[in-house]
């Protein structure tokens, strides 16, 4: 058993663009467990865009990440010591242990994982928060029907890839948006989308028009900005937009919707949501996602940073779309 572990804290708040200097790697002693606590060895950390919002001082939909505290983050790991009767050593759990190799928990927010049919890391992706985000937006907001055209931005990512595959399973025509030909080919050939618009190509607007000959009935939006505005112009009447993220604006003053008039002229519904506020639906959604991943009907891809020290750079890459699939950080070995 090691005596120490490493963690990353928020050292300072970004002025505009986050940088590696905003983070600090620390080594701490593993504390003694008190009654009711467990010690977890974390194997994977999930990196997600919402973390950028928390780095700012302004309160968004949640409190800011505290300075000099462990960066927030979802983790999967193994119970390595326990003074809590609910847990035994060797059990796999998911929790919010943050950017840290190990962690102590009272167990309340831990969930035990069955890795017999689903790989451990998938619980941070397609069978976890990103998958639930996709499932909620598609089933509760977009409410798509077979034959409708669905558009998904950040289509090769942890959330977008699940949205599109679920929509295909429901009989929709699915258009992805991704950056670069490699991602677009993956989205079409591996994930089975009908088309993918490469927003980094010069003719992305023509690609969008060509990909949506019957317009767009529902959008799952992760990015916002210029591309989203162009998509709005393709919307059919009574279209639904699940507004999940506006990553294009996380480091800017404002991110307007320029073609807002379309909301009126096409009688659209836009709804912003945060998946952590819909815990009542997680059991149902995770059950469905788990079956689909276990049976291979939902595929996923991961980018894995090699160790905790690489987390800041991997996170900054995520904000720029440099990751390809779910961005994880490998922590301690199982």
């Amino acid at each position: 058993m090691p005596k120490q572990y490493r963690r990353i804290v928020l050292a300072s708040r970004p002025q505009q663009h986050a940088s590696v200097d905003n983070f600090r790697l620390e080594t701490l002693d593993i504390p003694e467990l008190t009654e009711g606590q467990v010690l977890i060895k974390n194997h994977f950390l999930s990196l997600d865009p919402y973390m950028r919002v928390r780095m700012n001082a302004e309160r968004g939909y949640a409190d800011p990440q505290a300075l000099n505290e462990t960066m927030i983050g979802g983790t999967v790991g193994t119970i390595v010591a326990t003074k809590n009767a609910r847990f035994t050593v060797g059990e796999k759990v998911i929790g919010m242990m943050g950017w840290a190799e190990m962690g102590v928990s009272d167990g309340v927010l831990l969930r035990k994982l069955d890795t017999s049919h689903i790989p451990l890391s998938a619980y941070l992706g397609a069978v976890g928060m990103p998958g639930m985000t996709a499932w909620y937006g598609l089933t509760q907001i977009m409410q798509v029907k077979a034959g409708e055209t669905v558009l998904v931005s950040a289509a090769s990512g942890a959330v977008g890839s699940v949205v599109g595959q679920l929509a295909k399973l429901q009989g929709c025509r699915v258009i992805g948006i991704a950056g670069g030909s490699e991602k677009c080919e993956y989205v079409v050939n591996q994930l089975g989308f009908d088309a993918c618009v490469d927003y980094k190509s010069q003719d992305w607007q023509q690609q969008l028009i060509a990909a949506s000959p019957q317009g767009i009935d529902a959008i799952f939006e992760n990015v916002g900005g210029e591309v989203f505005d162009a998509c709005l112009l393709r919307m059919n009447p009574f279209g639904r937009i699940a507004l999940c993220g506006m990553i294009a604006g996380y480091e800017s003053e404002e991110l307007p919707i320029k073609n807002a008039r379309v909301l009126l002229t096409q009688r659209l519904t836009v709804r912003g949501f945060i998946i952590s506020e819909h815990m009542d639906l997680w059991p149902q959604g995770l059950k469905e996602l788990g079956s689909l991943v276990a049976s291979g009907k939902i595929k996923f891809k991961e980018s894995i940073a090699p160790d905790l020290a690489a987390a800041p750079e991997a996170f900054l890459g995520l904000l720029k779309g440099k990751n390809f699939g779910k961005q994880l950080v490998r922590l301690l070995p199982e």
Copy 2:
């Protein structure tokens, strides 16, 4: 019985700002009725912001107004000749006879009116399309609850005044937005709103903040633009926005929502709607509105242009907020 009547046609499409030159007054012979037709003498014409959208060549949610044809518009009038067994001379009817003193109809889209408790002109306002627009947005989209704070733009207008009064009847705190102290005083003192922000005053932003100490739970939006953007920043989590109009952008290239990020951070729902697509709810809504107007629980105010020739100028005034209350045009006397 006169032999001729006057109408106004769309003579040309506006480049950007509509002007009186876009309209042409014509005198026509009253045609002979054929079997199934009725002749209507129109007493009042309703002027509404949607007409500006129809003047453009681009298809919005409806076909453009045809050039050299009678301008579209809702009217109330009296049957003065009939070859249709459903109608008798002297009956009051509402229809879409356009900017015209008289009109011929096959009766299909006419509705008979009972003026025993409700003045005829109210059927073009609080007990008509504007009232239904208010009712639909409030009950179907905003779904307000007692104690919530509701904001209404164009609060002294035909739609906004009904939204606010309905919301007060439901036990909400109601904030209006209107241009000028006269309108604001009317909104508070006559209509019973809790507060009214004068968007023409220098300190409108401070007024808005002072009027919404507990934030805003639901918005009925008629205008869009800078003031709407400021209102977004006051929204509480899970707020609902009924997007009824964006009159501030009807004569401009685009009208952005600058603070779009709030849709996400506050998990808002925005829904654009057009009342003519929800005819199934009109009987219920009009019944409620009719009772409330007849019993004096909903008050309304009218600006009445003196005759058809004054309609273009009155319409241009409406687009600039020069009207005070429902804008009508007086046509032929009863």
